[in-house]
């Protein structure tokens, strides 16, 4: 693999996340970072991944990144467009989604996610947007990939609110809750990669992106972050990955500016 030292940590994060998406899988995509990573995957190593957005677009093939979850660009080249009840009932709940691709405002050591409130629910410090499609993606997708920037505000010891369940209180929780999906398999951040411990299900730092350190990762994590014995280093973005990602973002910016005239 050919490295490329001129890239941002965000680009590394997106590239690393995109690599988690295997070709041919069906992926339920959240807007923002997940959508960016999923479309990078589709434009590089996973041309046949089947992207599903909660707006009802099945097999979406956006040529620019959608600015919202229901952009016209998602419907234009989609294999099919169905209603919102159908996408949740006939596709997600039916077990037709291999990978759920989620972002998060807060996440805990078991991959549980909060996108509801910071502070007390009744009188919150920060009212976040809420659940959206995430709880059922977390429940029913065969596996879940989470992408978010590493910070103490995001990686917390205790969530103010559990919006979407990862591994609940650890090993065995999902089974007890009757969830069919296997839960979050990986968290990709701008510093590295966390994977669940096979026994405890606690998320453990298993790889660092080039240049990032264990100290940085621990500093940006609100719990005592476990580190794998064999800590890997992420392959830096390949020239082709960066080129495609930047082109995608540039075309998106152009489309955005055009939409603003």
């Amino acid at each position: 693999m050919s490295g490329n030292s001129e890239y941002t940590t965000d680009e590394m994060m997106t590239v690393a996340a995109s690599r988690e998406l295997h070709d041919g899988v069906s992926c339920f995509v959240g807007i923002g970072l997940p959508s960016e990573a999923a479309n990078l995957a589709r434009a590089t190593h996973a041309p046949n991944c089947f992207l599903i957005y909660e707006s009802g677009t099945l097999g979406a093939k956006p040529d620019v990144l959608p600015l919202s979850i229901g952009d016209g660009v998602l419907a234009e080249h989609a294999d099919s467009v169905v209603s919102v009840p159908e996408v949740f009932n006939y596709w997600l709940q039916a077990g037709r989604v291999d990978v759920g691709f989620l972002g998060a405002a807060q996440i805990d050591r078991y991959g549980n996610i909060n996108t509801t409130v910071v502070g007390d629910y009744a009188s919150p410090k920060v009212r976040l947007p809420g659940a959206g499609g995430a709880p059922e993606i977390a429940a029913s997708a065969k596996e879940v990939i989470v992408i978010l920037r590493h910070s103490r505000r995001a990686f917390v010891e205790k969530l103010a609110f559990v919006t979407s369940v990862g591994f609940g209180e650890g090993a065995g929780s999902r089974e007890k809750l009757g969830y069919s999906g296997a839960g979050p398999s990986v968290i990709i951040t701008d510093l590295g990669v966390l994977r669940p411990d096979p026994e405890t299900r606690e998320f453990t730092l298993t790889a660092l992106h080039p240049g990032a350190t264990v100290e940085q990762a621990k500093e940006a994590t609100g719990w005592d972050l476990a580190v794998a014995d064999e800590l890997l280093t992420t392959d830096p973005p390949e020239a082709r990955e960066l080129e495609v990602l930047r082109d995608l973002k540039e075309r998106t910016e152009r489309a955005k500016r055009k939409a603003e005239v």
């Binding site: 979850i69 016209g72 509801t116 959206g132 603003e260």
Partner: protein, 291 residues
């Protein structure tokens, strides 16, 4: 507001809102980032409706405006943000600081809300889904309850039907018989309309006859109580086949809505200060200076 021949009549939006939306009503304005019924929301604000229970999967700018203008008593929703931009500041101000007054909230997931509409459209008291279990939602939302399969004994979650007094949607076209056609991403609009007691549709235009469109759906005239022609009526969202999303407006909304006074001034000038949506569109066009 049906005409004698059983066809839904085309009326002014002013008349439709005056006749069909009352203070205290439960109102669902739907449109899943596409075909958002902005013109109708503005007319509700203009006519000063109060104590509304607002229902919507994705409360965005129009609900930020309704909440900020004090029209809402309660919000039933599943995701409240400025899509692609960030927070809804008027919504947050109401929830975090009770401004302009307390706002009761009832929140679900998208899947829950979608199935609540399906149950409403089907005249069933509840819907069943897999979800919510293990989350904190059931502890804050009373409208989630377990239900058991009478055949397998499996436990699932139930949510009660949504039966709004009024549903409002924006569609691309009506035909001469009063049918309403939407195409592209049609989200939850069919179920929202069919779950409601009264239905208002704003449309881009009236055509003689529909032609087949990609993923088009037609809501028959008998399911619609009033049609109002409002070209551009879902600005700043888009109407496939008519206009694109005005992304700059979504970004501009962030600083406008962040500040209480700026928000009030803006609403005063562009919504309360205009007599209808076409005047509104002209009014914001004059103002915006974009690079």
């Amino acid at each position: 507001m049906a005409e004698a021949e059983g066809r839904t009549g085309v009326v002014s939006l002013t008349e439709a809102i005056r006749e069909l939306v009352e203070d205290g009503d439960t109102v669902a304005l739907e449109g899943f980032t596409h075909l958002i019924p902005t013109a109708a929301a503005h007319e509700i604000i203009r006519q000063g409706r109060r104590d509304l229970t607002l229902v919507r999967m994705t409360p965005d700018l129009i609900y930020d405006q309704l909440i900020g203008m004090g029209c809402a008593r309660k919000l039933v929703f599943s995701w409240g943000g400025n899509p692609g931009v960030g927070s809804l500041h008027r919504f947050r101000d109401a929830v975090e600081r009770g401004y302009p007054h307390e706002l009761e909230i009832e929140e679900h997931s998208h899947a829950g809300m979608a199935n609540r509409y399906v149950a409403g459209a089907s005249n069933l008291p509840f819907a069943v889904l897999r979800g919510y279990v293990g989350t904190d939602l059931p502890s804050v939302t009373k409208t989630i309850a377990p239900v058991e399969c009478p055949f397998t004994g499996e436990r699932l979650m139930a949510v009660p039907a949504l039966r709004p007094d009024v549903a409002v949607i924006h569609a691309q076209q009506a035909d001469s018989r009063g049918n309403v056609m939407l195409w592209g991403i049609t989200g939850i609009q069919k179920e929202a309309a069919l779950s409601a007691k009264r239905v208002i549709a704003t449309v881009e235009e009236v055509v003689d006859e529909f032609r087949p469109r990609p993923f088009g759906i037609v809501l028959p005239s008998v399911a619609v109580d009033a049609i109002a022609v409002e070209p551009g009526g879902s600005h700043p969202s888009y109407a496939a086949g008519y206009y694109d999303r005005d992304n700059a407006f979504y970004e501009d909304w962030d600083p406008i809505s962040r500040d209480r006074e700026k928000f009030s001034d803006w609403m005063e000038r562009h919504v309360l200060g205009t007599k209808d949506f076409s005047e509104y569109l002209k009014s914001i066009e004059k103002e915006v200076v974009r690079p």
